[in-house]
C-alpha cells in the first residue's frame, strides 16, 4: 500500500476530491447519453416482441434497471453513511447525503413503471404483495433519511442520525431481493438467475446497456450534487475560496486585502 504511487486517502479530503469530481462529471455525462441512446434503440428496435406479453414487456428495460439502482444506491448510501459515522469522514457522509435523492427517484420510477406494467400483465395497478410493499418501504426509508437530515441544523449530527437510519434500513434490501422466493407473490421471479437466462439475448443486452446508462447517470448526478454539498457546507473554508472563487469573489478578496494593507 505504501509503495503505491497513487495516494488513495488523498481524495478522502474535500479539497482534493472537489476538483477531481468536477473533471469526472463531463466524462460520465457523455457515457450516460451514449448508453441511453444505444439502450433505447436496442429496446425498441432490436429486442423482439414477447410471445406472451406482446410489446407491454418493453417496460422491463427501465423497470428492472430502476429497481436495481434503487437497491444498489441504498446499500451504497448506507456504506458511505457508515464510513462517515465510524471514521468521522465528512466527505463520506456528504456522499451518502448526495446519493439519497437519486436513489429515491429510481425507487419511485421502479414503483410507477411497475404499476404501469402490472395493469396490462395482472389487471391491477397495485397489490400489497411482498416485493411491492418492501420496495415501497425502501422509498419511505429514502424519504425518511432525507427529511431526518434536513430537520437537523448541525450537519455532523444530521450525518450521524442519517447513518443510524440508513444502516438499520439496509435490512430491507435483502428482503426486497428474496421476497419473490420467500413469499408466494404475484410478482415474477428474479429476472436474472445464476443458472439460466430466461430472456432472449437481445432483450438481456438491451437491459444491461440501460442498466449501465442508469449507473453512469447516477455517478454523474451524485458527483454534481456532492460538489454542491461541499460548497454549501464548506463555503467559509479557505481552500474553497482560494481555488474555486465564485463570480465576484476575486474582486471582494482583492478589496479586502488591499484594505488590510
Amino acid at each position: 500500500m505504501s509503495k503505491s504511487k497513487i495516494h488513495w486517502y488523498k481524495y478522502a479530503a474535500p479539497v482534493n476530491f472537489y476538483p477531481l469530481a468536477g473533471k469526472m462529471i463531463p466524462f460520465f455525462t457523455a457515457l450516460t447519453i451514449i448508453l441511453f441512446a444505444i439502450g433505447l434503440y436496442m429496446s425498441f428496435f432490436v429486442a423482439p416482441v414477447d410471445f406472451q406479453q406482446g410489446h407491454s414487456y418493453r417496460i422491463i428495460f427501465i423497470h428492472v434497471p430502476a429497481a436495481w439502482m434503487g437497491m444498489f444506491l441504498y446499500v451504497l448510501m448506507a456504506i458511505y453513511a457508515g464510513i462517515g459515522w465510524a471514521f468521522n469522514a465528512r466527505l463520506a457522509s456528504m456522499m451518502a447525503t448526495a446519493i439519497a435523492p437519486t436513489g429515491a427517484i429510481f425507487t419511485f420510477i421502479s414503483l410507477v413503471t411497475g404499476s404501469l406494467w402490472g395493469k396490462p400483465a395482472w389487471g391491477v395497478f397495485w397489490v400489497w404483495d411482498a416485493r411491492m410493499t418492501s420496495t415501497l418501504i425502501l422509498m419511505f426509508l429514502y424519504i425518511g433519511f432525507i427529511s431526518l437530515q434536513s430537520s437537523i441544523d448541525d450537519t455532523r449530527r444530521a450525518d450521524r442520525a442519517g447513518a443510524v437510519l440508513a444502516l438499520v434500513g439496509v435490512i430491507n434490501v435483502p428482503i426486497i431481493y428474496f421476497s419473490v422466493q420467500w413469499w408466494n407473490t404475484l410478482h415474477q421471479g428474479a429476472t436474472l438467475t445464476a443458472r439460466s437466462f430466461k430472456m432472449a439475448p437481445s432483450m438481456l443486452s438491451a437491459m444491461f446497456v440501460l442498466m449501465g446508462a442508469c449507473w453512469m447517470y447516477s455517478i454523474a448526478i451524485v458527483l454534481a450534487r456532492v460538489r454542491l454539498i461541499i460548497k454549501e457546507r464548506e463555503r467559509e473554508a479557505p481552500w474553497l475560496v482560494e481555488t474555486h472563487p465564485f463570480e465576484g469573489e476575486i474582486g471582494i478578496r482583492k478589496s479586502v486585502s488591499e484594505g488590510a494593507q
Binding site: F45, I62, T113, K119, R235, I252, A260
Partner: protein, 64 residues
C-alpha cells in the same frame, strides 16, 4: 424491425399508454432532477458572495 409505420410504433400493440407512460415518467423525473440541481447551484452562487462579504466585513471591523 418490428414496426411497419409510425402509428404502429406509437400504438405498441395496444400497450402504448403503459409503455410510453413508463418511459415518459422516467424521462420527466430524471430531467427534473437535473433541473432542480442546476437551480440549487444558481441559488448558491447568488447567495454566496454576499454572505461572504458580510462575514468578512464583520471580521475586518473587529480587527480594526
Amino acid at each position: 424491425m418490428h414496426w411497419n409505420s409510425l402509428s404502429e410504433f406509437i400504438n405498441m400493440g395496444g400497450y402504448g399508454t403503459y409503455v410510453w407512460g413508463s418511459y415518459l415518467v422516467t424521462f420527466v423525473l430524471l430531467t427534473a432532477e437535473v433541473i432542480a440541481l442546476q437551480a440549487r447551484k444558481r441559488k448558491l452562487k447568488r447567495s454566496a458572495p454576499r454572505e461572504r462579504l458580510e462575514t468578512r466585513n464583520s471580521k475586518f471591523e473587529t480587527v480594526l
